[in-house]
Symmetry: C2
Subunit: 232 residues, 2 copies
DNA sequence: TAGATTGTTAATCGATTAACAATC
DNA sequence: TAGATTGTTAATCGATTAACAATC
């Protein structure tokens, strides 16, 4: 697809060309987007020994359908070659570009309980260009402390920090009862993407994306599977 | 559905009836299963003030389609009444039964890094009948310590514990590089369900369920959404 | 009775997979 | 050239939504 657009280049105005370019890039399916980081990690692991890799080999590695992998890669690359496959280094760069790993996105985390503390201590965010600048929590246990070099501030300071730093991403790790009201506050402060760990579905206006990391939902699936086997 | 089966009761043998009962119970769609805990939490919250609740009201609360909620509830309840809706307490019990909240499932956790520590400190598992009995890690930092009253044991002891306690659920919070080999070990020790936090897709034989809590995938979705908005 | 609500059947939508043509 | 591999078009599958009949 990308290749075709580049061939067309020159026949259209530059603006129109760029528009089409971005439009198409946006149409990556949600499921594809979720698989791309898996491929990316794997490719980084094998890059030293394996200069080129085929979709078939990746599919084999993860037990996926090879057409699925090829479609996923086609969405970001378009530089695969029959017989050869894809150049590993090239593919890594293309996936990273698609995911926006190079950019720096500042984020805040609300709720410094066990899970919140673990997340702020986790250093894997940087790989995706995400930088959690501070946590917010009113509880006396954590308020004022430093975790992983990041300050835990009072909720009173949330507004000032969000506006000053132009924060676009919020991570919610508060208990269920506070989740929706924290969410509403974040939206009011201009946040455009929310990573929600509370076991609920948050209501947000159009243009704000919520990604639910609902541990309860996963537990339900696992628990059900175990009981299914017991029943039969 | 359930109601129909109960009406048929007596016309069939008891064994056949029970078989059908469990078969149908198993066919709850994956997505429905993921939403049930969300409803359950909400119902518990409102049970005091709200003796009965309609699917429409629940749908409204979470911004879902009301037919979807009704289908979800039909899968576990079948006791809804036109005009009234569902009795809150009854619905809670029915969802809990479906999810197997009452039973006790023992689990082990492999990898007591930041995330592993947070999960073992999290007390919400009990709500789903899951009891993490111990963590396993060879790192000198954590090995031999107690976290939230649960011992962190050496990996050498994993086999003995799994077999002795008849463990069916394993939680993987090790780094990517060790994830598949830990998974293989757990499968060999008879584990039937795996909750995987490593950013990869694990390969398992038929009959073993893997639930991926891939933080990298979620970050990819969030990161992409933020960049989409910047581009346009 | 009238109206709110349930539950079911059919239509739509998105994602996966199968079949096949194109290419190095 | 022959064969491996890509990329595309069509078929399938599961989940969501719309339309409607049933019920208290």
């Amino acid at each position: 697809m990308r290749r075709k657009l580049l061939l067309l280049f020159g026949a259209r105005s530059c603006t129109e060309e760029l528009y089409l370019y971005f439009m198409e890039d946006k149409n990556i399916s949600l499921q594809t987007l979720r698989r791309l980081p898996v491929y990316l990690h794997y490719l980084k692991l094998i890059r030293k020994d394996t200069p080129s890799v085929s979709a078939t080999a990746i599919a084999e590695k993860f037990g996926l359908n090879n057409v699925q992998v090829r479609k996923d890669l086609a969405a970001v690359s378009g530089s695969g070659r029959p017989k050869t496959g894809y150049f590993t280094d090239e593919l890594i760069v293309q996936i990273e570009n698609c995911l926006g790993c190079a950019s720096q996105t500042k984020a805040v985390l609300i709720g410094a309980g066990n899970l919140g503390k673990a997340l702020i201590s986790y250093n894997g965010f940087a790989d995706y260009g995400i930088n959690v600048i501070s946590a917010f929590d009113n509880s006396a246990d954590v308020f004022g402390r430093n975790i992983n070099g990041k300050p835990v501030l009072s909720m009173d300071e949330l507004e000032a920090v969000c506006l000053r730093e132009d924060i676009k991403l919020g991570i919610i790790t508060v208990p269920l009862s506070q989740a929706q009201s924290v969410c509403d506050t974040l939206v009011r402060l201009g946040i455009k993407a929310i990573w929600n760990f509370a076991p609920t579905i948050l209501r947000v206006p159009d243009g704000v994306l919520v990604e639910n990391e609902n541990l309860a939902s996963s537990l339900a699936v696992l628990s059900k599977h175990l009981h299914k086997n017991l029943d039969s």
